[in-house]
Subunit: 303 residues, 2 copies
């Protein structure tokens, strides 16, 4: 596969949500020709204003593109967009490439890679870490699974979108690496929420506590970036609870298939699923602190 280059390679982008929109914007600014499709057409306005071409289906995006990227919400959407009747694989010519940047199921990534190979199409799974801020600032970490040659050919695009781009192994390895990332975040978030609730109930000055512990052995990205929002009662989404629940369920399924007992992951899935069911699905993941507080009868934020 030839290395992609702006002015030569025709790109397609499917999914212009909180992550996909800024990512697609970076590609347009880098000079790539991009055809786009997204479920809610109004979401494409900024991309179209920046020079993208609208297509009415994933398949029609693919028919105009050498490489099609997807950034969607759930595995069912990935399946439909990749493999469905109006899906991208049906529109890609042999020698083209499919790149799914959604956090999705490793087994689905393998299935899509098999279907792509049967058509002479390359397929990579390339989920990202870094959230909406990382997407806007092009500072994502991109975890890539699939054929190493296709990875190298597509590296110039990944480097427009992210700062840390690492090939993790064959098909599905990007998804599995991302799940490991989510397992890390899951338990870390529980620790942050429980520590703040403990400190608030103990009558400590939580700001002062953060000043003491954030730089030490208890430090984490979640503590530095989300604890201040938790203390302020700011639950605006950087990363939706419902998407995190999806990721944790995929991770639990994978763990179960591998006969792994991961009680911290299981606990996080229970707590986040309960939060989603209680109306927090479209809050940011930091809203867990309110659920932890309320489970003990404590109002949040503390006054």
């Amino acid at each position: 596969m030839r290395p992609v280059a702006a002015g030569e390679t025709r790109l397609g982008w499917i999914g212009l949500g909180m992550m996909g929109a800024p990512m697609c914007g970076h590609l347009l600014r880098a000079g790539f020709a991009v055809s786009v499709h997204t479920r809610t057409p109004e979401r494409a306005e900024a991309a179209l204003a920046a020079g993208a071409r609208w297509c009415d289906s994933p398949r029609s995006v693919a028919e105009q593109s050498d490489v099609v990227f997807a950034m969607l919400g759930f595995p069912a959407e990935v399946r439909e967009v990749a493999l469905g009747e109006g899906g991208a694989l049906a529109g890609l010519a042999a020698g083209g490439a499919w790149v799914d940047m959604t956090t999705s199921e490793p087994a689905l990534a393998e299935e899509i890679a098999g279907a792509a190979a049967a058509r002479g199409v390359h397929a990579l799974d390339a989920p990202v870490s870094g959230g909406d801020v990382g997407a806007r600032e092009a500072r994502l970490s991109i975890l890539v699974g699939g054929d190493g040659e296709a990875f190298e050919a597509l590296r110039p695009v990944f480097e427009v979108l992210g700062r840390t781009v690492v090939h993790q192994g064959g098909s599905g390895a990007g998804q599995r690496a991302k799940l490991a990332n989510q397992i890390l975040i899951a338990s870390t978030m529980i620790g942050v929420c429980e520590a703040l609730v403990f400190a608030a109930r103990a009558g400590l000055d939580c700001e002062r506590l953060l000043a003491s512990v954030s730089g030490g052995a208890a430090g984490s990205w979640s503590l530095a970036n989300l604890a201040p929002r938790m203390l302020a009662g700011d639950f605006a989404p950087g990363f939706y609870v419902e998407h995190f629940v999806k990721d944790l369920r995929i991770a639990l399924d994978e763990a179960g298939r591998a006969r792994l007992e991961l009680p911290g992951l299981a606990l996080a899935e229970r707590l986040y699923a309960a939060l989603a069911e209680a109306g927090g699905a479209r809050d940011g993941t930091q809203a867990l602190v309110r659920a932890v507080a309320e489970a003990s009868g404590l109002a949040w934020p503390p006054t």
Copy 2:
């Protein structure tokens, strides 16, 4: 209380273990006169060679000192060293100060502060975060509870030992802040262990995974500092499992008293207590990864 100063204030130091020995060494190098006592006299050799004076009991340390510091293992030792017959409070003159840097029970800190006040002695609880490395490099975070005037008078000593020195509130607040710190570490460690076990079982290259995720939203001190040791199978103690179990039990007791339900903390206490009972009490806290792996029938370190 007058500010402490090298050449004027006589210090006492009780407890010369993995934390206490390097901390006492910093005070000696800073020019303070220090009287010392520790349960195992051979542990005092380096301090004596650096100019410390040996005393046969905590009380006799206190009789030679204006301010007595303790850095011990368990609350029972703190109680004996502070309040016992040969204890420090019995030896301190009115106007002196007792400073416990052990991670211990908030209620015990309050009890000692009450007994100290009855003798005209100041008392601070001042547990630390940063582990053996922080102690050796004088980069500890020191979390102080007790009278604010005594805190300010003793600040010059704290600043010899640590980099982040914060007054958290009245007696016991230092201990409660430290427990919040341990609650953070507890769940973060579970996440690190489970993510590595998941990744190893999935056949991922764990070093490559760490390169991808350590700088992002999954990042933490534990991931950066302990995951590499976990992958190497290096379980040498920076912080003993048995001391962490003690801390987690104190935190659980405090949470229970405050009617807080903290399931992540409870899970960590169960996992670490099982590790201690299975022979890991004197391993470093990173040994939890082996227990998590073995619970799923996976040998650790992965080959």
